[in-house]
């Protein structure tokens, strides 16, 4: 009979597990917890549990001088701070660890990550949609009808569609509706990093594998264990890494850079691209075998031009949501504004529509959005969406960088605000108090915005 490795068994559990001795020092933790808190098991063993877990109840208990016994057989909601400075809600259950003779040797803590959407039921409760993706056009209804089946399957998914159509939202909605919802949803943009960095990010590395590799890193595949790995802009994945990805999809084993030891990772891969992968295969820029491996389930998100009747629904949805968020009493669009918005062709798709709604909410001081509150380019370029081609040719789309459609036509409110802040800071010669006066907001608000937009001061 084959023996089971107890460590592998603990790593396979969908919750974080932490074993501590009766003095409260860490004896062991599983990979799920290591990923959650951002600290390896090697580093944590022997340290006080409260320094490793950093949970509120644990810190308060230690501060009050209470022993671990007070936590025995409890299960309570709590929060902890991770190594990447996030505070996340958790549920921690504590049970007694005893040897075969019944003598207490320590405690086992089970840590459940409670962050993320409240429940799949809430996600699926939108009247016209799936998760946070909404629409009632026939194309979207057909897509929504497929999604529960896709979510329940464990096969790889390929999501295609123009930039701004909501591929990321769809990927996350699929994860949340799947049996892996309790596991992590890890996203990585294959086009955002150079090939060498991307390999290390995806597959991890061993200490000393290259200059600057000062410690072992698990990589995104292992971080997504028992969850979903979302590879966006898969069309930008370098050919060398395409081979490595294909090997993983076949074997489900991750080989970190500089290591010959493989680590099993139970990960569902969801990939997305705005490029025409079929065309890229024909041109030899994407591996055919990987294309077929990813293309097990294919979801094509239609452009907004192809979503008949969805524009008023989305305009209404975003206007209401953003008005509520910003505390503006805006009731809707004036008929003339609505006509202009319905006649526009939205090359940037839903992302552009959302940006327009945000612009309107910021500028409108009345109950209804008037044409004067719309971005000027909507009036300058009155292109009827009925007169435009249903979608751009695939080859043209494939040669276009992500987001290029938006750049020429839309400057989102966030871009405008960031520009105004930069200009004010220049005018105030870097004095934040004066810059805040120029912009017309409080110093603390200015500080928050500077941080939000990553403005260097």
């Amino acid at each position: 009979m084959k023996r089971i490795d107890p460590a592998a068994l603990l790593d396979a559990v969908a919750f974080g597990l932490l074993a501590v001795d009766s003095q409260g020092r860490v004896l062991a933790l599983n990979e799920r917890l290591a990923t959650l808190i951002g600290m390896s098991a090697d580093a944590a063993v022997g340290l006080p549990c409260v320094q490793v877990l950093r949970n509120r109840c644990g810190v308060q208990r230690c501060g009050a001088g209470e022993s671990l016994e007070s936590e025995e057989n409890t299960s309570r909601t709590d929060d902890l701070i991770t190594r990447d400075r996030r505070r996340i809600p958790v549920r921690i259950s504590v049970s007694l660890l005893a040897d075969p003779g019944g003598t207490r040797i320590g405690y086992l803590k089970t840590i459940e990550d409670l962050s993320g959407p409240e429940s799949a039921d809430q996600l699926l409760s939108t009247s016209y949609g799936f998760g946070s993706v909404i629409g009632r056009s026939p194309r979207m209804q057909r897509l929504f009808a497929m999604l529960p089946v896709v979510a329940q399957s464990d096969a790889s998914v390929l999501i295609t569609g123009e930039t701004g159509t909501g591929k990321d939202l769809l990927a996350e909605a699929i994860h949340q509706a799947s049996d892996r919802a309790k596991g992590p949803f890890v996203k990585i943009n294959c086009g955002a990093l150079p090939a060498t960095l991307l390999e290390s990010e995806l597959f991890g590395h061993k200490k000393g594998a290259f200059t600057g590799a000062v410690e072992d890193r698990p990589g995104r595949f292992r971080m997504a264990h028992q969850g979903t790995l979302y590879l966006t802009e898969i069309g930008d994945l370098p050919l060398a890494l395409q081979v490595k990805l294909l090997t993983f999809l076949d074997d489900k084993i991750v080989y970190p850079l500089g290591s010959t030891v493989g680590h099993p990772a139970d990960v569902r891969v969801v990939a997305a691209t705005h490029r025409d992968l079929g065309e890229m295969v024909r041109r030899g820029r994407f591996r055919e075998d990987l294309f077929y491996r990813l293309n097990v389930l294919r979801l094509e998100v239609p452009s907004l031009r192809e979503r008949e009747g969805d524009i008023p629904l989305l305009l209404d949805y975003f206007l209401k949501r953003l008005s509520a968020e910003l505390g503006r009493p805006i009731e809707g669009f004036a008929p003339r504004s609505l006509k202009i918005l319905l006649d526009y062709h939205y090359p940037g798709n839903v992302r552009e529509l959302k940006n327009i709604a945000e612009y309107c909410v910021h500028l409108c001081q009345e109950k209804r959005v008037q044409p004067a509150h719309l971005p000027a380019y909507l009036m300058e370029k009155p292109v009827s969406r009925q007169r435009t081609a249903p979608s751009l040719p695939a080859a043209a789309a494939a040669s276009r960088p992500a987001g290029a459609e938006n750049q020429t036509v839309i400057e989102a409110w966030s871009d405008i605000e960031a520009r105004l802040i930069r200009e004010a800071l220049v005018k105030a010669r870097g004095h934040r108090g004066r810059a805040a006066q120029i912009v017309g907001c409080a110093r603390s608000t200015l500080w928050r915005k500077i941080k939000q937009y990553g403005i260097e001061v």
Partner: protein
């Protein structure tokens, strides 16, 4: 010691160690070091209640140059960094070992000063 001017260090405490969380610390130690890293003055403060915002105010009011802490939320880390305060976070260890490392100018984010840590629950 490579510090060019005197520095003021704030360390949130849990017993004699760096507190696991900045936002939950009610005891802090303020240490003024000379240019060689030798402690000139040490002040222990007991706060009426734990609050990350109050602690940030204290850091600014006391003109602290370095904060050594365990877990800290990004919002407070960014605020202090923006205020030109160096924040060395994710540190585990006793106050003594932290000050010894600071004197050598060798304390980094994420350092675990293992031999010095207290047993704790």
């Amino acid at each position: 010691m490579a510090h060019l001017k005197p520095i003021k260090v704030l360390i949130p405490l849990l017993n004699d160690s760096v507190a696991p969380r900045f936002d939950l610390a009610t005891d802090v130690v303020l240490v003024r070091l000379d240019a060689e890293g030798v402690p000139l003055e040490r002040k222990l403060l007991i706060l009426p209640q734990a609050s990350a915002e109050r602690l940030c105010q204290l850091v600014i009011a006391e003109a602290v140059t370095i904060v050594v802490c365990g877990g800290i939320e990004a919002e407070h880390f960014d605020y202090l960094t923006w205020k030109q305060v160096r924040v060395i976070d994710n540190v585990i260890g006793s106050v003594g070992s932290v000050l010894a490392r600071l004197k050598l100018n060798q304390l980094e984010c994420g350092d675990i000063l293992r031999e010095q840590t207290d047993a704790d629950g």
